[in-house]
């Protein structure tokens, strides 16, 4: 019994860590650690903030709290599109303040085991974006770029335009060649 309980606890810890919220921006799947996500919302009206950086969508009222809304398309240097029914706002807590992140869609909460998470290959690292990426989750045919929420939000306000894209291409290219090495590194 005890062993079972312990296993459960251990597993519970693990579950917490390897649960990711998968969302898409420009057809690329990204993942946040699910335990860091407060909630998701469908798009509501935001209030523009004058002189704010271009990737700041605006501000919004989240049940009495003021939340900053960031648009990842703008953040990642992608072209802007109209909001649609799949457009979501992911609410995260950072430094005690809620931040809303506008993404193209939220897909699911999924478990990506650590052995499926690979470090981004050195060749694929692009200055300005590499520090906010914790790894790449590889599930069957899916490549999910796992982002560090804090670094994404606290690092540079704006990721260089095209950096994510370059990185994505590199990741996809070096997927097979560097998979073992990265796994070993990540595993270690």
């Amino acid at each position: 019994m005890t062993e079972e309980i312990m296993d459960d606890e251990l597993k519970a810890e693990e579950i917490e860590l390897d649960q990711y919220l998968v969302f898409t921006v420009k057809d690329q799947e990204f993942g946040f650690q699910a335990r860091r996500v407060q909630e998701i919302l469908s798009v509501t009206g935001t209030t523009k903030v004058p002189n704010a950086p271009s990737h700041i969508e605006g501000i919004m009222n989240l049940r009495g709290r003021l939340a900053t809304v960031i648009n990842f398309r703008k953040k990642f240097g992608f072209e802007q599109i109209e909001h649609d029914e799949d457009t979501r706002i992911i609410i995260v807590e950072q430094s005690g303040f809620p931040i809303g992140i506008v993404v193209d869609a939220v897909e699911e909460v999924i478990k990506i085991p650590d052995d499926s998470v690979h470090e981004l290959p050195k060749s694929a690292r692009v200055p300005g974006s590499e520090e906010c990426i914790t790894g790449v989750g590889m599930l069957k045919n899916r490549l999910i770029i796992l982002l560090d929420i804090d670094r994404v939000l606290t690092g540079q306000e704006l990721i260089e335009a095209g950096a994510i894209s370059q990185m994505m291409e590199k990741v996809i290219k070096g997927r097979k060649s560097g998979a073992e090495e990265e796994t070993n590194i990540e595993g270690a």
């Binding site: 459960d8 606890e9 597993k11 519970a12 810890e13 579950i15 917490e16 649960q19 919220l21 699910a34 335990r35 996500v37 407060q38 909630e39 998701i40 919302l41 469908s42 029914e85 979501r88 939220v106 699911e108 909460v109």
Partner: protein, 636 residues
């Protein structure tokens, strides 16, 4: 005459002696016995017998007048008596024979017969023999007389019976031949006379001449005869004379005719068939006279006529030439006409064919017009139906449009609902994700919740998918409905346009119907007219056919006429030449006929007896070379 009597007597006598030879011997024997008896009995018997001897010698010498003296009562006396009887019998017999001989021989009376009443036995036989002889002599003579009498009477049908012999047979044959010849002669002359006289045939004269030539009429019986023989002789001679006269006269006249003289006629007294012959000859002469006269006249006439004919012939020749050329022109014209008419006939056949075609066309047009009228009527009805249907359709399309509109509305409502569902599904999805996040945050306690959240998320995804499908369906429904509505609208518009068209069509149909009815009327009239036309053309064609036939006939006829005219021309030329030669012939004929002397001397033709004129007599003399004989009838 005495000579003949001897002849007659002699046979009688020889017969007497021959036949009575036996009796003479008997007589001699009995005389011998008487002599012996006398010699034997008495001496003076010799003296007594001397007268017997003398008597016998005298008897022997043919003296039948001797008689023995009769001394009664003696044998000599008996002998003398018998002798005397015998010798007297003999004497009487001789006398009788002499008498008969005289009568027959000199007087020619063959009917006389010997009779000796006291004769018996061989004596009687002797008389009978003589009588039989007489009979035998008389019968042929009578026969000859009979036949000759008949001939003299002109009856040539009698002939001698040939039951005799010797010279009598010769006589009979001769007479018969003569009769035959006469018969032939008479028949010939009669025939020729009849032919010449009645039938006008000439050319039989040769036979007459032959017949005359064969007749030798110069002989006559010159023997002296008496009684019946004389009569016979006379009859024959008369007959010969008669014949001679007739034939001489005939010859004279014939000779004259031969010389071209027709003045004389046969002037002779004839009977029976000779009369016929004479009549025939005289008739012939008359006819010849008439003919010669006619010929003369005719010759003159023929001369002038043939001259006229020649002139006419020449004129006709010219005319015939003209006619011939005219006929040729006519023939050519008729040929051309026939050809033209044939062409016309052919043309009319073509026209008739065209008329037939026209009629057929008119009839088919009629039929088609009727059909068209019917079709137009049907069309009008169909149009009315169509308009009705179109109205219904329009109504239906309007209804459809309104229904589609309501369907569209319903679809839109569905769409709205589906939107709501999708919203709900989205919300549910968000909720499910949030639940999942919460479950993750809840740690191991949120595990079951996470499962639920997952399920809800799945449900929401399903709902969303389904809603999306519904939405798509509704969208397509809406789209299709819109399209349908549009289609129906277009259709309705088209139907509306169609309706107008149909109304116009209907009107057109009615117009067509009217027109077609008019057309039908007109085509019927055309048909009638075409029928009439065809009939007329047929009549014309038939007429033309007839005309063509007639023209062909005319052509043929005119060709024939032309040929005939040519023939005519040829004949005319022949005729002209014939007329010329006829004129010449007529001239010759006149010359020839001119030779005939027909100066009428009032000669009487027929049986009238008249004395021949000296000239006639001269003619007879010159022709027959005989003395003229006055003919008399010899028959008594």
């Amino acid at each position: 005459m005495g000579k003949k009597s001897d002849k007659v007597r002699k046979p009688g006598r020889s017969v007497f002696f021959e036949d009575q030879g036996a009796e003479v011997a008997e007589l001699k024997d009995s005389a011998g016995e008487v002599t012996e008896a006398a010699t034997g009995t008495e001496y003076n018997i010799e003296t007594q017998l001397e007268p017997l001897l003398d008597a016998l010698n005298a008897f022997k010498q043919g003296d039948f007048t001797v008689r023995m003296p009769v001394q009664e009562g003696s044998l000599i006396c008996e002998i003398a008596k018998i002798f005397n009887d015998v010798i007297s019998l003999k004497e009487r017999m001789v006398d009788e024979i002499a008498r008969i001989g005289k009568i027959v021989g000199e007087e020619g009376r063959l009917t006389e017969r010997a009779t000796l009443d006291t004769a018996k036995g061989s004596w009687m036989s002797q008389i009978d023999t003589i009588n039989t002889l007489m009979d035998n002599l008389a019968q042929p003579t009578a026969e000859v007389a009979r036949v000759v009498t008949s001939v003299a009477e002109g009856n040539l049908s009698k002939k001698m019976a040939l039951e005799v012999k010797g010279e009598f047979l010769q006589i009979a044959t001769t007479v018969n031949t003569m009769v035959d010849q006469l018969n032939v002669f008479a028949i010939e002359v009669t025939r020729v006379a009849r032919e010449v006289g009645m039938e006008g045939k000439l050319g039989g004269q040769a036979e007459v001449t032959t017949a005359v030539a064969q007749g030798d009429l110069s002989r006559k019986i010159t023997v002296e005869a008496k009684g019946e023989i004389l009569e016979l002789k006379n009859t024959i001679n008369a007959m010969v004379d008669n014949l001679n006269a007739i034939i001489g006269e005939v010859n004279r006249v014939m000779y004259a005719i031969g010389e071209g003289k027709l003045k004389d006629t046969v002037d002779v007294d004839a009977a029976g068939e000779f009369a016929l012959m004479v009549d025939g000859i005289n008739g012939t002469i008359d006819s010849l006279r008439g003919i010669v006269k006619e010929l003369t006249d005719t010759g003159i006439n023929v001369g002038s006529v043939s001259q006229n004919m020649l002139n006419s012939g020449q004129e006709m020749n010219a005319m015939a030439t003209q006619l011939s050329s005219s006929m040729e022109q006519i023939a050519e014209g008729a040929k051309a006409q026939a050809m033209q008419i044939a062409a016309a006939s052919k043309e009319s056949e073509g026209v008739a064919e065209n008329a037939s075609d026209t009629l057929a066309s008119a009839e088919s047009m009629n039929l088609m017009a009727e059909m068209a009228a019917e079709s137009a009527g049907t069309g009008v009805k169909a149009m009315e139906e169509t308009i009705k249907n179109t109205d219904l359709m329009l109504e239906g399309s309007r209804e459809s449009v309104s229904r589609i509109e309501s369907l569209s509305k319903g679809s839109e409502q569905i769409q709205e609902i589906v939107e709501i569902i999708r919203d709900i599904a989205t919300q549910t999805n968000i909720l499910a994700i949030n639940a999942a996040i919460e479950a993750v945050r809840a740690g191991k306690h949120g595990k079951g919740f996470a499962v639920v959240a997952e399920e809800v998320k799945t449900l929401s995804a399903d709902s969303k998918a389904q809603a999306k499908k519904i939405s798509g369906l509704v969208q397509s429904v809406l789209r299709e409905t819109a399209e349908t509505a549009q289609t129906i609208k277009t259709m309705a518009e088209n139907v509306e346009i169609g309706r107008v068209s149909i109304e116009q069509t209907s009107k057109a149909f009615i117009d067509i119907n009217t027109s077609v009815e008019n057309t039908a009327k007109i085509s019927k009239q055309i048909s009638v007219a075409a029928t009439e036309q065809k009939n007329s053309i047929d009549s014309v064609s038939q007429g033309l056919d007839k005309i063509s036939g007639i023209a062909a006939d005319t052509s043929t006829c005119s060709n024939q006429s032309a040929d005939s005219t040519k023939h005519l021309l040829a004949k005319m030329q022949e005729l002209t030449s014939t007329a010329t030669s006829m004129a010449n012939t007529a001239e010759k004929l006149q010359q020839v006929v001119g030779r005939f002397d027909i100066t009428q001397e009032a000669l009487i033709v027929g049986q009238t007896v008249s004395t021949p004129s000296p000239r006639t007599t001269d003619k007879i003399k010159s022709v027959a070379g005989r003395k003229p004989t006055t003919v008399k009838k010899t028959r008594k």
